[in-house]
């Protein structure tokens, strides 16, 4: 019994470490390193604010539903100096917490599902915007770390008002 608890706790600590590292990479705009955290078919989703629980990206018009190729395109675009919305770049700062971990969930190949909460502040040209919501990371265990199969960022906001746009990686 005691050892089970210890394993679960250890797993959560490792997941937290992974999520905190990810947050640090994003805030530092180290997007290539961030992209390397994904599986080769890893994906990134932001559902529309009026359908936060949507999962079917064909039945519902998502704000972002990147397959790995589009996600790579997103990172490449942000690396150019013509992604105007992020030139000059926003300063972002994110706090990730309330981490919960489920392991060995289902048949689709997720080894671990991590649910967490985020608060992301974006500061740019005199304006501070706040994004809050929940992350869901569907992860595969690779060696002593993890690779992202799916990364969901589900916003609390009812509308992107006044935040307006998600030009950075949420």
């Amino acid at each position: 019994m005691t050892s089970t608890v210890t394993d679960a706790l250890l797993l959560r600590l490792r997941i937290e470490d992974f999520l905190f590292t990810e947050a640090e990479l994003l805030d530092a705009w180290k997007l290539d390193e961030w992209l390397a955290l994904f599986e080769p078919d890893g994906r990134y989703f932001v559902p529309p604010t009026d359908r936060p629980d949507a999962r079917d990206t064909i039945a519902t018009a998502f704000i972002i539903a990147d397959d790995h190729e589009r996600l790579t395109g997103r990172v490449r675009r942000l690396a150019t100096d013509a992604a105007w919305v992020e030139r000059p770049r926003s300063r972002t700062h994110r706090v990730v917490g309330n981490v919960r971990v489920e392991s060995g969930t289902d048949s689709v190949g997720d080894d671990v599902v991590a649910r967490s909460s985020f608060i992301v502040h974006r500061v740019r040209r005199g304006v501070t915007d706040c994004f809050t919501g929940r992350y869901e990371h569907r992860l595969r265990v690779v060696g002593d770390s993890f690779r992202i199969r799916e990364r969901w960022a589900v916003l609390t906001a009812e509308a992107l008002q006044p935040t307006g746009k998600i030009g950075f990686i949420l």
Binding site: P48, A59, A61, I63, G73, G164, K165
Partner: protein, 437 residues
């Protein structure tokens, strides 16, 4: 010290005529005074002379398909209930209790035949009639249920499933108002030649920190496409889309302030244009649909409907972006420097899932708050708005590309933007009671 006499002269003109649009066809001068974007009095006048008098877009009939369906939303600053009553009639009711004002419907959407204000429980039918008032006996005799139904838009009309309302009972019939825009709405609606068009679930609700008219200009502007969206074109190019097509077409003045950009473009179009990255199955389906369009609409019409892209502006609050995918974009001016935007993906009803996926991918890649293009438009417009802080020294915008120039009309001219401004200027010059329309 040099004095710029030309600027001084035009400023005097503005002061004398009160006009914010300076239009001299002989010399090709066209300028818009920047106070049009910054002055609170201008927005108030726009609310009176334009937003309260024109036909404004409310929603698409497919959003409320069944009797009792409703959606609540803000339409040009008014809180409305967009619903279908028990006689299958589409209603645009003002969402405020006749008693002391509370919202009678507080859900974003649903299905109900009545709305009950929770404050003191007055109850209304979804056609507006007041049918229940608790403690009715203690109200004076002068108070009647019949006089106190929910207020409604003065007129509601539907054109090809696009529902419009006017808060002015003297507005002309919708079709007359739409003028040349009606034919372009047809070119959108006809894409549903099989079974009609529908709004896809999931709204993109966002905002820009800029004046609403900057969004109008930008949404039909062909001049900014390559400078602002080079990263988008690079991206679709990297996925194998042939960019040699370029953008080729013309801007159009559709009358009454409506305008559009009508062009051929390299984007995927699930009604007509296959692109290299598509699967063979998708290519075949699209080829079949395109052939069917010829049969259903006639070849000439099918080419206009299916092959050509069009960014359509229906004055004053609706944009239909039929470019990289098909988007309904609705503007709700909040402040001189802040605009709420609601956008929806529009598609043929019952579209094949793979094609819907392509439509949706194409939408997300260009459009919306997380796309590869719209956020850059936002940066352009927000920085224009900030630039207008220098209005004391730089008072005028130039909107004169292709004006009075002896050359064929081109996709990157500003003709369509001038058409918008002329109507705007004329409406703003009209008195509160008399119009120029």
């Amino acid at each position: 010290m040099t004095i710029d006499h030309s600027t001084e002269a035009t400023n005097l003109t503005v002061r004398r005529t009160g006009r914010m649009v300076h239009d001299v066809p002989e010399t090709g001068e066209f300028m818009v005074h920047r106070s049009a974007f910054t002055d609170g009095a201008v927005l108030e006048r726009e609310r009176r002379n334009i937003l309260s008098r024109c036909w404004v877009y409310v929603g698409h009939a497919s959003e409320i398909p069944n009797v009792g369906d409703y959606r609540t939303r803000s339409v040009v600053g008014r809180q409305v209930i967009f619903c279908r009553d028990r006689n299958d009639e589409v209603r645009v009711l003002l969402n405020t209790c006749r008693h002391r004002g509370a919202l009678v419907c507080r859900e974003p959407q649903g299905n109900d035949t009545t709305f009950t204000c929770f404050y003191h429980k007055w109850q209304y039918r979804n056609s507006g009639e007041l049918i229940g008032v608790p403690g009715k006996i203690s109200f004076p005799e002068s108070f009647t249920l019949a006089d106190n139904g929910l207020a409604s838009a003065s007129q509601v009309e539907t054109y090809r499933d696009f529902v419009f309302a006017s808060f002015d009972s003297s507005a002309p019939p919708l079709v007359e108002y739409l003028a040349g825009a009606a034919d372009f709405i047809d070119r959108i609606a006809d894409q549903g030649f099989r079974d009609g068009m529908e709004i896809v679930d999931g709204a993109h609700l966002y905002s820009m920190r800029c004046n609403w008219k900057l969004v109008v200009e930008n949404s039909i502007d062909g001049y900014h496409g390559f400078p602002v969206h080079s990263t988008y074109f690079q991206y679709i190019g990297s996925r194998g889309v042939d960019l040699s097509v370029g953008l080729d077409g013309v801007p159009r003045d559709l009358g009454n302030g409506h305008a559009c950009l009508d062009y051929l473009a390299p984007f995927a179009r699930t009604v007509a244009r296959t692109t290299a990255p598509m699967s063979d199955r998708a290519k075949q389906l699209i080829t079949d649909i395109r052939a069917e369009a010829d049969a259903a609409l006639g070849e000439e019409r099918a080419a206009l409907v299916a092959d050509r892209s069009k960014n359509i502006f229906v004055y004053p609050n609706l944009l239909i972006i039929d470019a990289a995918s098909l988007q309904i974009r609705v503007l709700d001016p909040v402040a001189t420097d802040y605009t709420n935007i609601s956008a929806w993906l529009l598609a043929p009803r019952g579209e094949d899932r793979e094609l819907r996926q392509i439509r949706s991918d194409s939408y997300q890649e260009f459009l919306g708050p997380g796309g590869f293009a719209t956020p850059d438009d936002c940066e352009a417009l927000e920085t224009c708005q900030i630039g207008y802080q220098n209005i004391a020294e730089v008072e005028w915008n130039l909107v004169n590309k292709g004006y009075g120039v002896d050359a064929p009309e081109a996709v990157d001219n500003e003709t369509q933007i001038r058409a918008f401004w002329r109507q705007w200027d004329s409406d703003m010059a009209g008195g509160p009671d008399g119009g120029t329309r």
